[in-house]
Symmetry: D2
Subunit: 332 residues, 4 copies
Amino acid sequence: MKRVAVLTSGGDAPGMNACIRAVVRGAAYHGIEVIGIRRGYSGLILGDGIQLTSSTVSNIIQRGGTILKSARSPEFRTVEGRQKAYDYLTNRAVDGLIVIGGNGTFKGALQFVDEFSFPVIGVPGTIDNDLFGTDYTIGYDTAVNTAVEAIDKIRDTADSHERIFLIEVMGRDSGYIAIQSGIAGGAERVLLPETGVSAAELIERLRQDRNGSQSSAILVLAEGEGRGTATVVAEQIKKQSGTELDLRVTTLGHIQRGGVPSACDRILASRLGLGAVEGLLKGKQKVMVGLVNNELVYSGLQETVSRSKPISEELLRLVTILNGSAFADSRG
Amino acid sequence: MKRVAVLTSGGDAPGMNACIRAVVRGAAYHGIEVIGIRRGYSGLILGDGIQLTSSTVSNIIQRGGTILKSARSPEFRTVEGRQKAYDYLTNRAVDGLIVIGGNGTFKGALQFVDEFSFPVIGVPGTIDNDLFGTDYTIGYDTAVNTAVEAIDKIRDTADSHERIFLIEVMGRDSGYIAIQSGIAGGAERVLLPETGVSAAELIERLRQDRNGSQSSAILVLAEGEGRGTATVVAEQIKKQSGTELDLRVTTLGHIQRGGVPSACDRILASRLGLGAVEGLLKGKQKVMVGLVNNELVYSGLQETVSRSKPISEELLRLVTILNGSAFADSRG
Amino acid sequence: MKRVAVLTSGGDAPGMNACIRAVVRGAAYHGIEVIGIRRGYSGLILGDGIQLTSSTVSNIIQRGGTILKSARSPEFRTVEGRQKAYDYLTNRAVDGLIVIGGNGTFKGALQFVDEFSFPVIGVPGTIDNDLFGTDYTIGYDTAVNTAVEAIDKIRDTADSHERIFLIEVMGRDSGYIAIQSGIAGGAERVLLPETGVSAAELIERLRQDRNGSQSSAILVLAEGEGRGTATVVAEQIKKQSGTELDLRVTTLGHIQRGGVPSACDRILASRLGLGAVEGLLKGKQKVMVGLVNNELVYSGLQETVSRSKPISEELLRLVTILNGSAFADSRG
Amino acid sequence: MKRVAVLTSGGDAPGMNACIRAVVRGAAYHGIEVIGIRRGYSGLILGDGIQLTSSTVSNIIQRGGTILKSARSPEFRTVEGRQKAYDYLTNRAVDGLIVIGGNGTFKGALQFVDEFSFPVIGVPGTIDNDLFGTDYTIGYDTAVNTAVEAIDKIRDTADSHERIFLIEVMGRDSGYIAIQSGIAGGAERVLLPETGVSAAELIERLRQDRNGSQSSAILVLAEGEGRGTATVVAEQIKKQSGTELDLRVTTLGHIQRGGVPSACDRILASRLGLGAVEGLLKGKQKVMVGLVNNELVYSGLQETVSRSKPISEELLRLVTILNGSAFADSRG
C-alpha cells in the first residue's frame, strides 16, 4: 500500500479536520502518501485531488468544518459517475479510499465497493451519532455541548421571565443530541422520535408543573420527533391549551454543526483516522472503523447502514427521574 | 435618602445582575437600604419587595438573567395600578426608585413620575442598544459576542459546503446587533432597518460574488429590517433568483439574551448601578444614567424615550469596504 | 432506607453539583430524604447538615464547584473524629452515606466503614481521572477541555513568535489530563509520570524539529511527571542546551478545577448520582459506583484505592505518530 | 500612493489579524497594493515581504495571533539595520508603512521616520492598553475577557474551599488588565502599579473580611505592581501573617495573549486598520491612529511613546465600593 485517498462527505461535523490530519500523519508514519479529494464524491468524479503532507495538515486539529469541503453528488448515484471515480483512483494509483461521513456517505461507498471491489474504509463523521458500529460519531460531543450552552443561555431568560421554552435541536432520524443535551441542560421534558408523548399528555404535565408556583420550563425537541418543527409543535400546544401555556420557540439550527471541536471529538477523530489507515494496511475493507467500549472496532459497512442504534433506556429513565418531576421551582 | 427600591423590567439582558449588585453595594456604601422589587412593575403593584444586602448580591455579577425576575404589567398602564405602586413605595418609606430596562420600561417610569413626582432614575438594560443618552446599553456587548460566536460556527459550515447563509439577529427597531456582529463576523452583507436594499439588488450582488469561483457567504439580517423574518426574506430571494441561490436560514433567537455577561457589560453595569444611586443622592430624577464618551451622563427620561440614536455612518461604510467586495473566495 | 446523607470532599471538580442534584432527585423519586453535609468529613463531625429537596438543587447542574463546599478534615483521621461522625449520622437516623471525591476521600470512607459498618458508597469526583473502577471521573472531561482551550490560545502566540512553550497541567499522580489535552491540543511532546524522557533526549528531538525551518512547539507536562515544576524543567533544558532553546513556561493551575461543567461531566455525574442512591437501595456498600464500558459498575472501595489505572498504550502511541514527528512547520 | 507595507511587531495580540485584513481590504478599496512583511522589523531588513490580497486575508478576522508573525529585531536598533529596511521599501516602491504593535514598536518606527522621512503610521496592537492616544488597544478587550473567565473559574474553587486566591494578570507597566478584570471578576482587592498597598494593610483587610464568617477572596495582582510575582507577594503575606492566611497563587500567563478575538477587538481592529490606510492617503505620517471618545484620532508618535495614560479614578473607586467592603460572605 503506497497511496490512499481521503474525502469528507455529507453534513460537516466538528472534528473532521482532526480526522483528516490523523489520516495524513498516520499514513506518513507508515510511509504512505495521501491524496485529499475536495468536495466529497463530486471531487472524486472530477479528479479534484490534492496531495496532503504532514505540514499541510498542521494547525487544523482545532478548526471546525472540513478543509476538504463537502458537497452533494447526484452523479455518484449513477454507474457512470462511479466509473469515473474508479478511473480517477486507478489512474492516480490509489490503493485505498477513506470516506469520512454519515449514513448517506456509507451507502454510496457500499455501492462503489460492490461494483469495483475497491478497498474502502468509512469513518463515522456526523453530529447525529446515529450510526451502528460505534458508540460515538465525530462531531457529536461538540454538537451536544453547543446545544447545552444554548440551553444554559435560554434558561437565564426562561427563569427571569418564568416562561416555557421549546428548543429544537438537530437529529433527523434520532434523538441522540436531544437526549444528551436535555439531560445535561436539565430540561424538564425531552421529545424524541424514540418516545411518543401526545400533546394532551404534555399539556397535562406542564399544567401540573405550574401548579403551586409559577415557574419556567425547558422542553427539548428532536428535529425528527415526528410532529414537525418546534413552531408547529408549539402552535399545537398553545391551541389545545387555550391561552394558558405560552411557549416560546428557539430552533438552534446550524450553530450545532460548526465550532471548535471539543477535546473528546479531537481525540476520537485522531483515533479513528489512524485506525482507518491501519485498517487498510491490515487488509480491512468494506468496513467502518468505530469505537465500541473504548476499543477500535471494524464493522461491516452493510451492517452500519442497515442497523439502528437505539437510545439507552438508562438515559431515558434519567430524564424522567432527575428532570421531569413536578417540583415547586422547576428550574434546571 | 434612607431607602431606595430597584427593579428590572422588559426583556432580560446579561449584566442586569451586575447592575443590581452595584445598586445594592453602592447604596450600602452610602448607608442606604435597598428593597429589590420582584417581577418589575407588577411586583411594585403587588408589594413584592425583598430586602437586599451586600451579601445577598454576592456571586451574581457573572450570572445572566435577573435575580429580581421580569414580567409584563398591563396593570401598570392604568392609573389604579400606578397608584398602588406609589402607595407601596410610600408605605415602605422608599425615597427613590431605580428601574433597569429599556424603552418600554422608561415610558412607564415617565408616566409614573409625572403623576406622583416620585424620584426615579432609569438604567439602560437591553441587548438592543437602541436608547438615546448612552453609547452602550447593558447586555449589548454580550449579545453581540454571542451573535459573533454563532456566525463563526455557521461560517465553518458555509465554507465547507460553499453555501449562502442568512442569519437573523435580534433588534426589533434597530440594527445595532446586526451591524456590529456583521462587521465582527465578517459578514458579506448586513441588512438593517436603517439601510434598504431591494431583493433584486441583493441577488445581483450575490451573483457577482459567485462569479469566477464558487463561494460561501454570510448575510446578517436585523429582525426589524422591514421585510419580515429571515425565512420570509430567504423565500423571496430564492423565488426571484430561480433555483440559483440556495440560501440557508438560521434565526439566533433567545440565545442572544442570556449567558454569562462579558467583562464590558459587567463593568458598564457596575458603573451605571453606582451612578444611579449617586444620582438619586445628588437629587437627580426623571433621568436615565448613561455612558457617553466614557463619562457618566444623566439625560432626561423624556428625551431618552423619544429621540433615536442612529447607527454611525462609519460602521456602515466599514461593512461595504471590508466585507462586501466581490473577491475570489468570499470567506470572512 | 429512609434517609441518606451526601457530602463532597477533596479538591472540587466540575460536575459535583450535578451529582448532588442527581442524588437528591434520585432519592426523592424513591421516597428517600437527603441531608447535605457541608464541608466534607469536617461537617460530618460538626453535624453541619442541611435538608436538600428537589427544589433546593434546582439550577445547579451547570455550576462549577460544590454547593456543599469541601474542606480538609485532620480530625476525621482520628478515631474520635470518626466516632463523632458516626454519632451524628445515627442521631439523624441516616441509613446510608454517599461521598463524592477522590482517592483520599475514599481512604477515609474505607476506614469509617471498617470501624462502624456504616453503609457508604463512593462517587468518583476528581479532575485527575486516576481512580480504578471507572473509565472517567466527574470533572475530568471539563478539565481536559479547559486545558485544551488554554493550549489553543498559547499556540496562537507560539506560532506568531515561533517559540517553544512548556505547559504544565494538573495530575499529581497520573498523566491523564496531560495525555488527553496533549493529543487534543496537538502538542509536539507530552511528558508524563508514566513515560520517562531524559532532558538530553528531549533537547535532541527539539533540535531535530527546529532543523530545516524555524518553528513553534508545544510541550505538555504533567504536574507529577517527576522532575519538578515546569519552571524547573524549563531551566534544566535551557541550561543543558545552551542558549539555543528558549522555552516559555505556563502553569495552568487552578483554572482547570473550575468552570461550567461539560455536557459529558453533567451526564456522568447524573448517572453516578442516581446509581449511588440505587446502589444503597440494593444493599450495596463499601463500593464506588463507576462507569466501565458505558455501564454502571460497583467496585470494592478497597480495590479502588489500591489499584492503579494505567494510561492506554494506544493513546501514548497516538502522540508519537500524530504529533511528535519532525516536519517542516511543526504547528499543531 | 500605490503600495503600502504592513507588519506586526512586539507581543502578539488578538485582533492583529483583523487589522491586517482591514489594511489589505481598505487598501484594495482605494486601489492600493499591500505587501505583508513577515516577522516585524526583522523581516523588513531581510526583505521578507509577500503580496496580500483581499482573498489571502479571508477567514482570518476570527483568528488569534498574527499571520505575519512577530519577532524581536536587535538589528533594527542599528543604523545599518534601518538602512537595509529603508532600501527594501524603496526597492519595492512602497509608499507608506503601517506598523501594528506597542510602545517598543513605535519607538523603533519613530527613529526610522526621523532618519529616513518615510511615511509611517502606527496602529496600537497590544493587550496592555497602555498607549496614550487611544482609549483602547487591539487585544485588550479579549485579554480582559480571558482573565475574567479565569477568575470566574477560580472563584468556583475559592468558594468551595473557602480559600484566598492571588491571581496574577499581565501588565508590565500598567494595571489596565488588572483593574478591569478585577471589577468584572468581582475581586475583593486589585493590586496595581498605580496604587500602593503595604503587606501589613492587606493582611489587616483580609483579616477583617475573615471575621464573622469564614470566606473566600480573590485578589488580582498586576504583573508590574512592583513587589514581584504573585508567588513572591503570597510568600510575603504568608510570612507576615503567620500561618493564618493561606493564599493560593495562579499566574494566568500567556493564555491572555491568544484566543479568538472578541467582537470589540475585531471592530476596533477593523476601524483602525482602515483608518491607517486612509490616514496615509491623507498624507498623515509619524502618527498613531487611535480611538478617542469613539472617534478616529491621529496622535503624534512622539507623544504616544512618551506620555502615560493613567487609570481612571472612577474605576479605582468602583473596586473599593463594590468589591472591597467587608461583608459576611465575601464571594464576588
